[in-house]
């Protein structure tokens, strides 16, 4: 199936998300869409999937003009999309989720669902695609990587010949990324085509063709075979000049090589934050915390790696005070904070940056200025007694917009209208501006472009150098390696500390099997 998008224009109010974009997709190719946050990649794909209707422009399938009123139309013509947030029903089984859109019916009683046939379908799909999933498992029990597999199988079952994957690798462990690409190659070999949105150059280099978007337009396209990583990097660097009229360093566009973690001088008196013997019930067995203990010193970044779904989210929520502890203690600067509310913990000097910015981080329907004071709205200078001081709030918001280079026309813009990267900057500005002692941060760079990612990591290191403690939870191993001074790994709800001189492969083993592989001792 051959797809051509011609002259696609999509505006959101005054923001031009797509400005006359042409894109071709040939049968049997893996096409990579590269670009910064807000470049218009997701918008373009949402147009192709029928979620948005383009203001102008046409889509052709095999030279025939098509119009999508809804994703149903796109699915009908063989286009499938795996969004960043999955559309699965957590309480239902894998086979139910996969066959929901086109249920197999029993032969004699046509109105009844044929569960056995559904399980067979899932197994057959597993054989043809190489993506094996237990048909009877409940989706909520599965790790994020496996849930993604279920989404892919669902799309293929519904007849997808073209698969759009929106940042599929953001939540995967290195091994899972390799598996995903192996699957994509198999699909392409059958003549199907795939579009993958990513920020990572290495992944772009594994595709057939690459299109770079910037500020809503195409700035570069090429066959990957004709390119080196350096050339592609330079292309994005050129974009960088064009975009804000300023020169930016070529080095800034690549992540610096992994540095050896610095030895922090953590004497006895430097312990800032202490978690001991924490047990917390999670939604699944793997994510239930089992005797988790941890210390964070002043001037130190403790990185927690691990495959998603091994207890990280439960750990984060327990540290914020959103869910109660079963047993265990949390101490900040020696004071017991185990029973505190989120507000008390915040006032004690902890700031929280959640992995789920839309659910836990932002008030999407409120303005940027409103969002940038959440949690501090009752403190001066934002509050004057019981009243808000909007003059100071707006002034502060404008200052932070400049500081963090947030792309927003005014501080009164609704945060829901900002791109993901800029939303994340709003959260960072809020959480770091009030001088916290400890920063607990989960997945701070998920879905961000290279430049913003670098900016965020630099910011965390800066805060460490100011003598603050940072607890960094991330599914991105590279991020942990690059940023953390000390590394621990979550596996099935237990926390394993990794020896200082461990290699990447060793850490990968911890992520896959916990401490059993190495000789490391728990805690």
């Amino acid at each position: 199936m051959e797809i051509s998008m011609r002259g696609i224009v999509k505006n959101f109010g005054k923001i031009v998300a797509n400005n006359h974009i042409d894109l071709d997709l040939y049968p049997g190719e893996i096409h990579c869409l590269l670009g910064e946050n807000g470049a218009g990649k997701s918008t373009l794909m949402h147009v192709l999937y029928g979620l948005y209707r383009a203001d102008q422009g046409d889509i052709f399938i095999n030279s025939e003009r098509v119009r999508f009123r809804s994703p149903q139309d796109a699915i009908h013509l063989g286009i499938g999309m795996i969004a960043q947030h999955f559309n699965l029903i957590p309480r239902m089984t894998v086979k139910e989720n996969i066959t929901l859109g086109k249920m197999p019916r029993q032969e004699r009683l046509g109105f009844l669902w044929d569960g056995k046939r559904a399980a067979e379908i899932v197994r057959e799909l597993g054989e043809t695609t190489g993506m094996v999933v237990d048909p009877d498992a409940t989706v909520s029990e599965l790790s994020v990587g496996v849930q993604q597999r279920v989404e892919v199988l669902k799309a293929i079952y519904l007849g997808a010949k073209v698969l759009i994957l929106d940042e599929p690798t953001a939540v995967l462990a290195p091994q899972e990324v390799a598996e995903l690409f192996a699957f994509m190659r198999r699909m392409a070999a059958q003549g199907d085509s795939l579009i993958i949105i990513t920020h990572r150059l290495e992944e772009a280099m594994m595709c057939d063709r690459v299109t770079v978007l910037s500020a809503g337009g195409v700035v570069f396209r090429s066959m990957v075979a004709d390119l080196t990583k350096e050339q592609l990097n330079r292309k994005m660097f050129e974009v960088c000049i064009r975009e804000d009229g300023r020169e930016c360093q070529a080095e800034a566009m690549t992540l610096p090589p992994v540095e050896a973690a610095k030895d922090s001088d953590c004497g006895e008196g430097n312990v800032l934050f202490q978690v001991s013997d924490l047990c917390v019930q999670g939604p699944t067995r793997a994510s239930t915390l089992k005797d988790v203990s941890l210390e964070v010193n002043r001037g130190e970044i403790v990185g927690i790696a691990g495959v998603a779904g091994n207890g990280q989210a439960v750990f984060f929520n327990a540290l914020t005070g959103l869910i109660p502890l079963q047993t265990g203690k949390i101490r900040l600067k020696g004071a017991d904070r185990s029973g505190d509310t989120p507000k008390q913990r915040r006032e004690a000097g902890i700031s929280f940056i959640s992995e789920d910015r839309k659910y836990l981080g932002l008030l999407l329907d409120m303005s940027l200025a409103d969002n940038i004071i959440l949690g501090y709205e009752d403190k001066p200078p934002f509050a004057k007694g019981k009243r808000l001081n909007y003059k100071r709030i707006k002034q502060f918001a404008r200052g932070q917009i400049a500081n963090f280079e947030i792309k927003a026309p005014t501080e009164e813009m609704r945060v829901g209208q900002l791109s993901g990267g800029n939303q994340q900057k709003v959260i960072l500005a809020r959480e770091l501006s009030q001088g916290p002692d400890l920063i607990i941060v989960s997945q701070p760079t998920r879905g961000l472009d290279v430049r913003t990612t670098q900016f965020v990591r630099e910011l965390l290191r800066e805060n460490r150098d100011k003598g603050r403690g940072v607890l960094l939870i991330s599914y991105d191993l590279e991020e942990i390696l690059q940023t953390a001074d000390r590394i621990a790994v979550f596996f099935e709800g237990r926390l394993w500390f990794v020896p200082r001189d461990a290699s990447v492969e060793e850490i990968g083993r911890y992520m896959a099997t916990g401490g059993k592989a190495g000789e490391a001792v728990a805690n």
Binding site: V16, N19, L322, L363, L364, I373, R387
Partner: protein
């Protein structure tokens, strides 16, 4: 650049006319649908509409009775906005009006004889406390026992209604009352009129109170720390909670404030227009109030204006039932289509704007469009 600015002005000018056009379309819906229904039922549609308007606004005395009728509805509608802004479905406005009316009557009947300067504040406070208490029950059940506030506030309406039903038949039944009502409050316990004689004497201070309350609630929601927290909870409770907002406190506070204001609506009926407590003291005001608040998107000032219009309509409609024999059911249909018209206006405007943009986009060069955006 200059060319672009001119274009942009032209553009916003067209958008304004789209707005006007969409209101005209909504007005057609408002007039046409009930008009057809009236014609089918054998009434002269334009005569009916003319009569409603002239009964409500046609003369000074018509305006006076409209204002008098509107006061409790406007007050209760302002009360309804408070909890809605916090994402709490306070459907119990009706019950809170009734309890407020009960509080006001108890103060008015049993504290009669106090100097007026003490008596009126006592009535005010009792009405607010009774209404607020009735609201807090719903808020407490929601936060502590995780009962849907929608269901329990709805059911609390019936409890309030039957409490008053009982009270006005037995303990509070007035010695001089004809039906199951309390005695009429003494003149000292009634809210002051705007004028001591003439047409305007039937209008009391409660209509002014109504708009003062609307302004106060607007200020509370938009300009205070509490209001910020209420909005934050209304938009995204988990994020608000992680930000440190105490959700229980916010919900119970909005239920108290909203209930107290609705209770003042009850006071405005007992110590204002009606003068006594009966089981039908709140008529259907609670539901008009909720409709006005929801349609005006819980913004206190627009809500108060819409509630005033509803009050005027009800006043105007009373006349046509008597003089033209239009059944009250049909009157309610007219009111409902009116509210429906206001409700769909934004949708009509959006559709028109889209159609316009699509048409304009076909003619304009995209680079210029981008220029406008920048």
């Amino acid at each position: 650049m200059k060319r672009l600015r001119i274009r942009a002005e032209k553009f916003s000018g067209t958008m304004l006319s789209v707005k006007v056009l969409s209101w005209l379309a909504a007005l057609i819906v408002i007039v046409l649908l009930p008009g057809i229904l009236l014609a089918v039922s054998g009434f002269e549609p334009f005569a009916v509409i003319y009569n409603i308007v002239s009964n409500a606004l046609g003369s000074a005395s018509a305006i006076a009775s409209s204002l008098r009728k509107s006061a409790p509805i406007v007050i209760a509608a302002v009360g309804a906005t408070v909890a809605f802004r916090c994402g709490v479905w306070n459907i119990g406005i009706q019950g809170q009006i009734i309890m407020g009316a009960l509080g006001a009557s108890i103060a008015g009947l049993y504290l009669d004889g106090l100097p007026r300067i003490l008596l009126l504040p006592a009535i005010f406070v009792m009405a607010a406390l009774f209404g607020g208490f009735w609201g807090v029950i719903g808020g407490y059940l929601r936060q502590k026992l995780h009962v849907s506030e929608l269901i329990c506030t709805l059911l609390l309406n019936y409890i309030a209604e039957y409490i008053v039903y009982y009270l006005v038949r037995y303990p509070l039944r007035g010695a001089n009352a004809f039906g199951p009502t309390t005695d009429t409050l003494s003149a000292a316990a009634r809210l002051p009129s705007l004028a001591s004689g003439g047409i305007w004497s039937i209008v009391r201070v409660d209509i002014i109170l109504a708009f003062v309350l609307a302004a106060l609630i607007w200020y509370l929601i938009e300009a205070t720390v509490l209001g910020y927290q209420v909005r934050a909870v209304g938009v995204n409770p988990p994020a608000a909670q992680l930000g440190g907002v105490r959700i229980n406190r916010a919900v119970i506070l909005v239920m108290f404030i909203g209930g107290a204001i609705a209770g003042l609506g009850g006071m405005s009926e007992v110590a204002g227009a009606q003068g006594y407590l009966s089981e039908s003291v709140a008529d259907n005001y609670g539901f008009y109030a909720i409709a006005a608040a929801l349609i005006a998107r819980n913004k206190p000032i627009p809500t108060s204006v819409l509630a005033l219009i509803v009050g005027c309509f009800l006043t105007g409609a009373m006349g046509i039932q008597a003089t033209m024999g239009v059944p009250s059911v049909l009157v309610m249909v007219i009111l409902a289509t009116f509210l429906l018209g206001i409700l769909v206006q934004p949708a009509i405007e959006k559709a028109m704007r889209k159609a316009f943009i699509r048409q304009a986009a076909g003619q304009k060069h995209p680079a210029e469009e981008k220029g406008e955006a920048a």
